[in-house]
Symmetry: C2
């Protein structure tokens, strides 16, 4: 009998660490523990530099007195059209958001398309029109691009890779390693909407009510928050892996603990119901128009007030606090008075969500 | 009977223009006429801005007195390992080259991976190691990235999208619209090596001798050329669609004609033989370590001399001249004294070559 683990079945969440993996599994794209392991074991040792080592969603490059933010993401969501958005809207907004999460003003976007032979030209056109509309709203320009076509059955309709370039105009240092005990943890609104919207469409599920993706560009919300105070230490958009995964990443990078109160976290009733049916925890479900912020205690109230005045932050709330105790652990008080550990997601409950 | 054209068969080169296409065909990714039509009919009308309208392989952005070059490309080559390179080496070199082709010094690269479930982790590791080696040679840093995983059968092992950022340090204006009558057309070496190397591996063909990809980073060659003279008007790396397609693009954008002499164009004997067997013209076959340059007549000799002193330009030659006559047409004198029109490639003789 071989000592080697058997290759995982398609879609299987594989509990073994990457060191034991001879093959890539869906969980390596989850944004959770397996993705972290892939980054730490395959990418980081080979691209060892201070920019990548920050493990933020963007690199900050100092050039000629200019502080540039640079970020890239591939989008492989299926289906490509879903309630509240499509892959084009997702790609542009996602890249704008990754720039905004270090306080940058988004300026330029590059877009590379991998099309599957047989794709309807009309579908491509609709996606491109979405991209244009979203880019215009945010005042970013798509300045360069590329198109490749792969044989039928070697792709899946459309994959889009967007790369963004933005300028950090304020003297802020926003990074996952800057959370400090006492920081207030703010959340800009309800969680789980995007993931459940894509799932409902993909699996053709009928829930109690319609669920729409929250897909939105957060740059204007971040601009409003920074006007209220520059004392914002971390910003993250909780996409793949959800709020729980992002908070764990910040806790690990900043060597701090976190204490949350589950009762404070807003979840739409329809999303809550859909999650219960599917056995998912909304804290691990992807969002595409939400952010979490670690804000210095003296600035938190002003920042929260400004968030609530913004259309994308109307339901913003304080969800907890950064603590010195239990570094790298995120604890959550449950509604019935218990405490649970919110761990990083291991595998991939919702593959290809973005 | 329907007026609509039947959907193309897989791999079929479809002569109808995009306006008649309801579906994407492989030829839309060829870099030839169908790619141009897709760009002109789907992308340009929706992303109407002066950067994209230049139709160069990179955007030049002026920021804070800095002239930045910004370029993106997806790589979908199959097989991912081929004689002389692999998809990782191709991705980094391709992006370095697109930056170099406007005279920029490559600085930073972002890389986004789309992995197919089931990919051998060892193959990914080898590709990443290639990327690192090539980046180090050229002094560029991979500063940010992304990884997605798609289900088995929805991708093809590895797709890589690399986006580059470089700085144009010299006061040069190098663009496809700057060719002028009298410019000398220089070519840095033999043509067709990359395309035939990939084909031979993919189709398991045995030719008279081994054919290796010419995959290489051209930034140091361009730096040497610009040291010889800044009077270089256009630079292009003839990848998809080959030398013929690139020259046609420059002729169209600059509203000039070109006259080439086939006898001056170096092609390796093995490549020539392989092309003859497959019925391909090396002028339409992809290169990944070659460039064509339109150089002011008074500078041509000095630039060519410097090219020949560089290891990547040892076989550099003058292949023809830009003329005022027959604008937008590229004519070539054949060895037997005739003249043929070199048109843009229509479809896709060699799909997924980069």
């Amino acid at each position: 009998m071989s000592d080697k683990p058997r290759p995982p079945l398609p879609g299987e969440i594989c509990p073994a660490p990457i060191a034991d993996h001879e093959h890539i599994v869906l969980g390596h794209g989850s944004g959770g523990k397996l993705t972290q392991e892939l980054i730490e074991k395959v990418f980081l040792p080979r691209f060892d530099n201070p920019y990548l080592a920050r493990l933020d969603d963007q690199a900050v490059l100092e050039m000629n007195g200019l502080r540039l933010a640079f970020t890239t993401d591939s989008f492989v969501v299926t289906p490509i059209f879903f309630p509240g958005g499509d892959i084009g809207r997702l790609a542009i907004n996602g890249t704008i958001n990754d720039l905004a999460m270090c306080g940058a003003v988004p300026r330029y976007i590059a877009a590379a398309f991998i099309l599957e032979e047989g794709l309807a030209t009309e579908a491509l056109t609709r996606v491109v029109e979405s991209m244009r509309a979203v880019a215009d709203e945010a005042g970013v320009m798509l300045v360069t691009g590329d198109t490749k076509v792969v044989n039928r059955g070697k792709g899946d309709q459309i994959f889009i890779t967007t790369t963004g370039l933005g300028v950090i105009e304020r003297p802020v240092q926003i990074s996952a390693n800057r959370a400090r005990p006492g920081d207030q943890i703010l959340l800009s609104g309800t969680i789980g909407d995007h993931g459940m919207a894509v799932m409902s469409k993909r699996e053709n599920l009928e829930f109690e009510g319609p669920i729409e993706s929250d897909c939105a560009a957060l740059d204007s919300l971040v601009a409003a928050m920074l006007e209220a105070s520059e004392n914002i230490h971390c910003l993250r958009d909780p996409t793949r892996g959800g709020v729980a995964t992002v908070l764990n990443e910040i806790a690990a990078r900043s060597e701090v603990g976190m204490e949350l109160d589950e009762r404070l976290i807003p979840v739409r009733e329809t999303v809550k119901g859909a999650c219960e049916i599917l056995g998912l925890d909304p804290l691990y479900v992807a969002n595409e128009g939400k952010l979490v912020a670690m804000v210095a205690p003296e600035a938190a109230e002003a920042v929260l007030k400004r968030m609530r005045e913004h259309p994308l932050g109307a339901e913003a709330c304080r969800m907890g606090e950064v603590v010195a105790a239990h570094p790298r652990r995120v604890l959550m008080k449950t509604p019935i008075g218990g405490t649970r550990i919110l761990d990083v997601m291991l595998g991939e409950p919702l593959p290809r969500i973005c």
